[in-house]
């Protein structure tokens, strides 16, 4: 109980390092979701609108990749950007770029699966109508996105929530460097092992509040969509 009160006091006091860590997490998650969103949107729309060989296999593959643990993604990206790796010359290891790259790769299958799932549920007459209009592929994409605003928001929020709460990638690629790449989850792991439970709990409370906020928003979107 005392630990919880101290944690709350820490939050209320506006501890600079605590909120810097929260800000770092939010910025990393924002950019990861943005990049995954851009590429995911294109890939999911191609999966939805185009029929091509191996399409079914690729969809299964992407869906399966949703279950890949973050440490595996971290390991793969680590091997690419480590000094001896093919992208080692970039010097990205233990920088925010590395974390964002890893988290984007982690978020990509999540975004694609949510978007593809949502787009596929559009009325069959929608797809028939855009086919008979004879418009360009790009215009078909725009119409598909325009018809599914909640699907887009739902996919991005879900991805943001997953990225925000991951620890493996941030730890392996960011190195948990204070005032630089330390995120909420890596800080929680570190402070717990150091016995700084109050600090860890304060971060845990903030992470929980953020996750709940995102989940509530997502749920509300889904409910509104179902009601419509």
């Amino acid at each position: 109980m005392r630990t919880a009160l101290t944690a709350l006091k820490l939050i209320m006091s506006g501890n600079r390092e605590l909120f810097f860590t929260v800000g770092t997490s939010l910025i990393f998650s924002f950019f990861s979701t943005l990049f995954a969103g851009i590429f995911g949107l294109l890939i999911a729309t191609i999966f939805t609108l185009e029929k091509f060989p191996l399409r079914g296999f690729l969809i299964s593959l992407v869906t399966s990749l949703m279950a890949v643990p973050t440490v595996v993604v971290g390991l793969v990206v680590y091997s690419l950007i480590s000094r001896t790796g093919p992208l080692g010359s970039l010097g990205w290891l233990f920088t925010p770029y590395a974390v964002v790259l890893g988290q984007s790769i982690f978020a990509l299958p999540i975004v694609i699966s949510y978007l593809w799932g949502g787009f596929s549920k559009l009325d069959i007459r929608f797809f028939e109508t855009i086919q008979t209009i004879g418009c360009s592929f790009f215009y078909k994409c725009v119409l598909t996105w325009r018809e599914s605003p909640t699907v887009l928001v739902n996919a991005l929020l879900s991805s943001f929530g997953r990225v925000l709460s991951e620890v493996g990638i941030s730890m392996m690629l960011g190195g948990n460097i204070r005032w630089y790449t330390r995120t909420m989850t890596t800080a929680i792991a570190l402070e717990t092992t150091r016995g700084e439970y109050e600090y860890a709990l304060a971060l845990g409370i903030l992470l929980l509040l953020l996750a709940m906020g995102i989940n509530t928003l997502t749920l509300r979107m889904v409910q509104q969509r179902e009601a419509a």
């Binding site: 028939e128 086919q131 008979t132 360009s136």
Partner: protein, 219 residues
Amino acid sequence: MTPKPLYKIQDLKVGFNGRGELFHIPRLDILSIDPVAVLGPNGSGKTTFLKALSGLLDVPTGTILYKDIFIRSYGKRYSQEVTYVHQHPYLFRGSVYWNLLVGLHPKALTPEEKSYRIHHTLDCLGLSGYGERNIEGLSGGEAYRVALARALVREPKVLLLDEPTAQADSEAKKIILEVLRQVACKGSTTLIFATHDKTLGEHLNARILRLEEFAPCRY
């Protein structure tokens, strides 16, 4: 001189959802002059026939030639010339005007020309002042007229309509009939429509195509 057929259909066999063969058309030519009314009872394959003509449905057996070319070979140009309107059409999220604007998408027109064409088409279909209305509040009959306007605004070479008057009240039916009659008289668009209503075919002086005549002993 006999005009060249617009569509040449040969040995077209269509089945549906494992219910066996719906119809088998050994040979059929559709000319570009007269409208064609596709008649038949429920389940006779009127919609399937129209979808096959529109290119939305892959036909496993038989050939459909449009201007002597396989419709699949036409590609995007085919869907720019041929437009299909569902019995219960899908309208895009947003306003009536937006829906018609989407219909005009690939056309190289100035915004003023587009606006004129959209408003003129809406006026013809008794939808004056509907441009800014959201599609959410439209009745089934109004939604069909908006979809019909979206198709007409494109000035297609072939207009395929599924039950154009099924959802319309008597007033809307009159308007739709008049518009279709004008389209048929103008001669630049070939009308092919599925209907239960024989009078619709008579009103438009349409060639009658009874699908049950092509059904393999089902009736």
